[in-house]
Symmetry: C2
Subunit: 364 residues, 2 copies
């Protein structure tokens, strides 16, 4: 194997696949498999749960393949000067990598041991703008369960209807539901590990170009920009999220997102000593945010548009802040029923996003 490519292309391609490689050292799964063909080099990495493949253009002088440990390769090329980089196999066990006066021989492993890559039936697919999918991931993924007591809740539900995609995450204390119109001719639902979705969000670009998503059996594929990300799906039944959203609403307020977020951030400094508990008092077109600890007390009044009953309700400030940081609307609607029933945060007049947050019990 011998090829030469631009350092920038190499960094981009290695950076794309490297995080699928396993962290287990001295195994073939810690490697990136390079395969050279006419004018193109394919890079693959997999830890079985997630598999990423991408391509870069290169001057290929000798076809072949090599499996190079991912971590040391990535670090080394990041330190290379900005110039062309040449890879050349030296016997069975090493690859010489050179870039101007930088020159290093890295050990390679047996490329034939690299596991075969997943295949997937691409009949069932949806298309969505990359930047839109990126925002759907980032606006929901914070609500996935971290503990693995219910493994299915560590993933994101992709609920695909005719021309719509709904992404859902929930962890038992709060839920994030994000809906968009997409190009789809199927109805299907599947649960994708949150780790895969973080990689997808990282790899896809902030453009209007489409990304394709296919699901088949226990596998799914994301495909964009010469890159494929294959993932196993989580197995089991996801919670029926539609039933969790309350139909009733006894109190409804509309509030400026940033103003509320800033108040809660201040309140949460004092609330750290009291399990992050902050209180809302809704009365007379004012939302009063309060927190209280040995360090002091905070009491801020925020003007709101309001309908319905007065209410006192307490929350874990982290859950409210996560939502207010995720949304990109200037104003949000907040719907309440009682001090012990969930609050729903929505964008005004649509169901583009709906966040559900459970309150905490008030101590006084």
């Amino acid at each position: 194997m011998r090829f030469t490519c631009a350092k920038a292309d190499l960094i981009q391609a290695v950076g794309t696949v490297a995080r699928a490689a396993s962290k287990m050292q001295k195994t073939i799964l810690e490697c990136i498999l390079f395969t050279c063909d006419d004018g193109v080099v394919t890079l693959r990495a997999t830890d079985i749960a997630i598999s990423i493949k991408t391509e870069m253009t290169a001057q290929v002088e000798e076809k072949g393949k090599a499996a190079i440990p991912s971590k040391v390769l990535h670090e080394m090329i990041s330190r290379f000067p900005e110039s062309d980089v040449t890879f050349e196999s030296i016997g069975e066990n090493a690859v010489k990598i050179s870039c101007m006066n930088a020159q290093v021989d890295l050990q390679q492993m047996n490329a034939d041991e690299f596991p075969s890559f997943p295949e997937i039936d691409r009949k069932t697919q949806i298309k969505i703008q990359q930047k839109l999918l990126k925002s759907m991931i980032n606006q929901t993924i914070f609500a996935v369960a971290v503990m693995e007591e219910k493994p299915i809740l560590t993933g994101l539900l992709f609920d695909i209807g005719k021309d719509s995609l709904t992404v859902v995450a929930l962890d038992g204390y709060r839920m994030a539901v994000r809906k968009e119109t997409v190009i789809s001719d199927v109805s299907e639902s599947c649960v994708i590990p949150s780790r895969t979705m973080r990689e997808v969000s990282r790899i896809i670009s902030d453009t209007e170009e489409n990304i394709k998503f296919c699901v088949s059996g226990n596998m799914a594929l994301f495909e964009a920009n010469n890159t494929q990300i294959y993932t196993r799906l989580l197995e089991g039944d996801f919670v029926n999220y539609r039933n969790l959203l309350p139909k009733e609403c006894a109190t409804n307020i509309r509030v400026e997102t940033e103003m509320l977020r800033d108040s809660i951030e201040r309140a949460s400094i004092l609330a750290r000593e009291t399990n992050n508990v902050i209180k809302f008092i809704i009365e007379d077109k004012v939302l009063e945010v309060t927190s209280n600890s040995e360090m002091g007390k905070l009491d801020e009044k925020i003007p709101v548009i309001s309908e319905g009953n007065n209410l006192k309700i307490a929350f874990n400030s982290k859950y409210v802040l996560d939502v207010l940081k995720a949304v990109d609307e200037n104003e949000v609607d907040m719907r309440f029923n009682t001090a012990v029933s969930p609050c729903v945060v929505r964008n005004e007049g649509s169901d583009k996003f709906e966040y559900l947050i459970l309150p905490v019990q008030m101590r006084d």
Copy 2:
């Protein structure tokens, strides 16, 4: 006490003194003492080892003082909107702080318990440009001892001669010596805790304005921009650094700083598995940098101007990198004697800086 000031001035003043406050909660030393006089508020913080005092302008409506816990205050005002901030004592135990709709009552402690601030005889003083002192600190402080076996080596030696200041740090494996011309009419030497010097470097600005430095008894004072930093000195005898610098030189090379630094950074990726050992081979106007581990091997040739004997010598890559990252010259001179005697890194043709690095024993 009641005063109003701009948020930016408040953040600046609190940020300047806050890091002198103790991290021990529920003690007066965790507080910043605010003292209000006509048109000016003085802020003080101390943990006894280091004491910082600064001033800010304010509209003072009621003179007085208050001791407010530093950490919660700093966090809270950082979250305030960009506007004027008003402080107002509420009885003995709290201060109301408000800024537009942000409003918080913080507990205050008994200001009378705040320790009295150090006084220092200012007769003996030197003056030096702030940005110059900053660079002298940053170009030496990395070499102070971290372990406290010899407490005196955890500080920076200030060796003041007639119109010169030499700053020295050493930890038993390497030494940094940095010399500049200053305005001085004394000869004096003292050792300042590295923690103080980090605060001084952080607080002083990158300007040509002078900072004053006074030393008297077991105390020193840095004074600039309405701010005073008092520090205790470390007691004991510092090593006679002049005796450590070798007089002889059997091999002398001049090398491009950045080219050598980049090579060593690559070499050190492989050297991590072998206690960071890298090797220099100097021969025929070439400096060869090599490293070797199970992951692979690196062998890079760097053109140098050289005089004297050929040499093979090994180093801990971290110590060489620390020096090459600290210096701001395009080229450095490196002087060697044997494979077991120290290397000196100097700027060409002057003694502005001299770094001494001990080699490690070669294994082959």
